[in-house]
Amino acid sequence: MYLERLEAKAGFPKAATLSIVVVLSMLAVWWPTVAAAHGERAEPPFLRMSTVQFYDTHWSAKTIKVNEEMTVSGHFRIVKNWSMSVSPPSLTFLNVDVPGPVMVREASYLDGANAIASTPLELGRDYEYKIVMRGRIPGSYHVHPMLDVRDTGALMGPGDWVTVEGDAASFTDPITTLLGNKIDLANYGLGAVVTWHVIWVVVALAWLMFWLRRPLLIPRYEKVMHGEGESLVSGTDRIVGIGFLVATLLIVMGGVLVTRAEYPVTIPLQSVWMRIPPLPEQPETVSMKVDHVVYYIPGRTVELWVNVTNHGAKPVRVGEFTTAGIRFLNASVSKADADFPPDLVAPNGLEVEPNDPVQPGETKSLHILMTSEIWETDRLAMLIADPSSRIGGLFMFYDPDGNRSIVEFNSEILPIFKRNETQQTAQASGG
């Protein structure tokens, strides 16, 4: 017996060490790590490439103080070839993706109209948006413009980091009611809400304690089972019950009368749908006919063979391809904006062969290569797992004066796993 105890004691340090290691290992799983945003990459490529294309996105500031404003603005195109896997934008809401109300939305506009309400949008049309935000909780947040589409979900635009500095306690959200009262939404009405809850909790506790203070389960169960249940509710209990019933009704009625006197003017909650017209259609100065498109997987390159026709009066060149908020730039034509998130730009990601301008009236065959690891890092290469393997985006053509023509692009895309297959495909198509 003694030896067994000794052995058990000797084994204790090992067991304890092992236990600590196991517990620490388990805790490590839940140890908080830095949230790195980019949840948008979880959205399948077709949702990001064949629904809404955000472009010209601009963040007015990357650092603001609590209570300071910044804006997210730009344009988006509701693509003509909207994916049939999701519902069309018959009702949408211009939203902003931040991790909760760490910033408050002061205002939002679609084509200059107040976008406080939901609106249907038209396929193949462009809209200009602007969202005014104000700092509330200090921290760094990934801020995206976002379009919520009924029966489809949230469709996100490109995101960038915005830092809010200062003291969260200094945040205020003042508004003036139509009755002229100045209030702060940050803490409005909470005192009254808590007071009413406390009143009812006290009443409930009184009623519960009235019953809980006496023997409960077995003695009462036994009496009920032997047909003596009636004796368990006394005349005093009934009188107290009537008292609680009457008091409850009186408190409710009294509360209503007092509140009605305090707030004589109230209106129902408002929910408005409206129709905001799109931006005026631009004349089609450039058109594009797709021959075929492949994704060369080892080279992380999307290759297109297209015929471009210039209907305008000036020569044009391909400057940019934008899809899912990612920008592939033809370095000889376009430069990235200084404030655009660098992880969403491939500065030399667009090669055009030949890279000469398309002259007015000319139709030119172009071989376009879009090469970047972004296809993989942003998970756009996951197209192959989509229910419809189509690539979509916007080509930006520029004339010598810097005027821009936007051409919507949508095509089937084939994955190429070996180089020679690409070449064969290219040869077969004459590209």
Partner: protein, 254 residues
């Protein structure tokens, strides 16, 4: 009679005092377990059935919130009420559940929605059903009849929900001009405090044909809630009845 009761349940104890102490320990143990169980069960039930209507100040409309909340939430108190009255003649189940629901909701709002998600508490406060629960319990105690409790208590349950909570809601329904749009304070809060997963069009605000029946949809909703609560009370009561048929053999053994 008392001697008979003692004789019936005396076996395992050395004295009546020991027996009473043991019974009291059992009472308290069950009470503590029951409170946490009720908080969890009723909270989950409420979140699944009415969810957003109770989460946000700008979802507490005059139609769906008023009609849905009491109608759906009477089911569980009815079941518990049947069990506690039928087996113990205790008329506090509805109050206990509504009390536990409020505790669980505040816990959720303070820790989760305010502490983790940063929503201000004045935007995510929960509604209360405690007055409705007290009325349901007192009607059952005074009448001793499930039918009368369903008819009178159920109607009162549905009728009291809106006035009980209107004293909190009213201040959030004051009109505001938001960039040229007429909105309530609650609507404005919903617009300011960004919810990425709850776009504006998801809110069921006064949608439906009820307005074509009358100008004030809230009264129609209250009447609907009153009658629907009666029906759902019977459903809940039936669940309680089925539970008592199968789950009380352990207590008989005790």
């Amino acid at each position: 009679m008392a001697a008979g009761l003692q004789a019936r349940s005396h076996g395992a104890f050395e004295s009546t005092s020991d027996q009473q102490k043991a019974f009291r320990v059992l009472d308290l143990t069950v009470a503590v377990i029951l409170i946490f169980l009720s908080m969890a069960l009723f909270h989950i039930f409420a979140m699944l059935c009415i969810g957003d209507w109770d989460f946000w100040a700008d979802w507490k409309d005059q139609r769906w919130w008023v009609a849905m909340t009491p109608t759906v939430l009477i089911a569980m108190p009815a079941a518990f009420q049947f069990i506690f009255w039928e087996k113990f003649r205790l008329p506090f189940a509805a109050t206990l559940l509504t009390f536990c629901l409020v505790l669980a909701e505040w816990l959720n709002r303070v820790v989760n929605m305010h502490g983790w998600a940063y929503f201000p508490l004045d935007f995510v406060w929960p509604a209360t059903l405690i007055p409705s629960g007290i009325i349901l319990d007192t009607v059952l105690m005074l009448s001793g009849s499930y039918v009368i409790t369903a008819m009178i208590g159920g109607m009162a349950w549905g009728a009291l929900f809106y006035p009980t909570n209107w004293v909190m809601v009213a201040r959030f329904d004051v009109p505001v001009n938001v960039h040229g749009f007429l909105m309530t304070i609650a609507d404005t809060m919903g617009y300011h405090f960004v919810r990425t997963g709850t776009p504006e069009y998801l809110r069921l605000i006064d949608r439906g044909t009820l307005r074509s029946f009358g100008y004030d949809s809230v009264w129609l909703s209250i009447v609907l809630a009153m009658f629907a609560s009666i029906l759902v009370y019977f459903i809940g009561m039936t669940i309680g009845y089925l539970f008592t048929r199968s789950q009380f053999s352990w207590l008989k053994r005790v």
